[in-house]
């Protein structure tokens, strides 16, 4: 009888041990699952820029290769970036009108290793966006600040801001990337949530403001 009792308790213990874990991912809704990461060049005075232009399509970056597309979701993100750039006081102009800032929107699908390094991402950036697009043939891109590495298991949206005003005066033919925003998490590739996602990037970047 005692042996039966003991073995019963053993089974209870094992069940308790396995069942006592509270899974954090089961306690997150879609909004809570998302993260917003912004990096900036802290030497740049963002209020010194007045105008910007934005790429007319989204670069789909899939394991280091890119294509361009413009579907409803892409357009929703581009329009949201325009909205919050305008609210920050920057004026949208055509890319042929010598904008101070260039803005690119990217859809990063995945990497073969499951880990995305911004270093690798930026290593191919000239392939995603030929500097010729922004009127600077023969130029390269330069990131003056360090990025971290994050694991990526699904897609992400990134928004990059380029300093075209300084590029026109650059001796070393570099276009400086002065701000990036990254959106990751569940359900971000949806027109209904695009505005909120971009708003979050701008909310945590209060320095993005024209005087």
């Amino acid at each position: 009888m005692k042996k039966l009792l003991t073995n019963g308790w053993l089974i209870c213990l094992a069940v308790l041990y396995i069942g006592c874990n509270k899974d954090p991912l089961n306690n997150l809704n879609a909004d809570e699952s998302r993260i917003y990461i912004t990096d900036r060049d802290s030497t740049v005075n963002f209020s010194s820029f007045k105008t910007y232009s934005i790429s007319d399509s989204v670069a789909i970056i899939d394991n280091g290769k890119s294509t361009r597309q413009l579907n409803d979701v892409d357009l929703a993100y581009i329009n949201a970036v325009k909205k919050y750039m305008n609210q920050a006081g920057y004026r949208l102009v055509l890319k042929n009108d010598n904008p101070d800032l260039g803005v690119n929107v990217n859809h990063i699908i995945s990497t073969s290793t499951g880990v995305i390094s911004y270093g690798n991402y930026w290593g191919d950036y000239g392939g995603y966006y030929d500097p010729y697009y922004w009127g600077y043939p023969g130029y390269g891109y330069y990131i003056p600040y360090a990025y971290s590495v994050y694991s990526v298991k699904e897609g992400a949206i990134s928004v990059d801001m380029l300093d075209l005003k300084s590029a026109s005066k650059s001796d070393n033919k570099k276009i400086d990337v002065i701000w990036t925003g990254l959106i990751r998490g569940s359900g971000i590739f949806n027109t209904s949530v695009a505005d909120k996602q971009v708003e979050s990037l701008f909310d945590q970047s209060s320095y993005l403001k024209k005087n």
Binding site: I18, P24, L28, T38, Q204
Partner: protein
């Protein structure tokens, strides 16, 4: 989950081994307790402030005399806390907006002694002390993106409680007590995983 299964196997093997040791003069006592844990100090302020109702402790105690018993205790506790969305400055140029979730599982394995000063009393008060290793599984999530870290640390314990025997002079009975578990955890600027615990359970002799 893998750690859970390994530790479950450890419990089962330990107790089966004890069951086979029937030739002893004094019987081993198996104690099983439900454990309610309350994080304190750095654990509460830096990682998890929520109390945890998800835990248990089990011990095998050998009664050296009516007043003193010693043995091995293993436990398990699951701690969890989700913090509201906030912006974290993770570098001089970088900000991350995220809902952070901390999920911590501790599995202490200790050598433990209990002293019963009043052997003739129907309700037997006791004090206890223990020390050993603590298997720590720490998962921290930014949104749905997490990192897991597993470490082994020290744990020391002091406790008080009462035991109500099923019958006079029996080592089987009901237990009600509390412990303070000191568990340093010097990782990433964190200090400790110390806690105050309340336990209730039963003990019975194994032959």
């Amino acid at each position: 989950m893998k750690n859970n299964i390994i530790a479950s196997c450890f419990i089962i093997v330990s107790i089966l081994f004890a069951q086979s040791s029937t030739a002893q003069k004094n019987p081993l006592t198996l104690e099983l307790n439900y454990n309610y844990s309350m994080p304190v100090s750095g654990f509460k302020s830096d990682l998890v402030s929520n109390n945890s109702p998800r835990g248990f402790k089990g011990s095998l105690m050998y009664p050296f005399s009516n007043k003193l018993a010693a043995g091995v205790e293993i436990g398990f506790q699951d701690y969890y806390q989700k913090y509201p969305r906030d912006i974290y400055h993770t570098g001089p140029n970088q900000d991350i907006s995220a809902v952070i979730s901390n999920s911590i599982q501790t599995t202490p394995l200790m050598l433990k002694a209990k002293y019963y000063p009043l052997t003739n009393s129907f309700v037997k008060p006791y004090i206890s002390a223990g020390a050993g290793g603590n298997l720590i599984n720490f998962k921290q999530y930014f949104g749905e993106f997490g990192n897991t870290r597993t470490n082994i640390g020290f744990v020391g314990q002091a406790g008080v409680g009462i035991m109500i025997p099923f019958k006079k002079m029996s080592t089987s009975g009901f237990y009600l007590g509390g412990t303070y578990d000191y568990a340093p955890y010097k990782k990433d600027g964190y200090k400790d995983l110390s806690s105050v615990n309340l336990q209730a359970g039963i003990s019975f002799e194994i032959r």
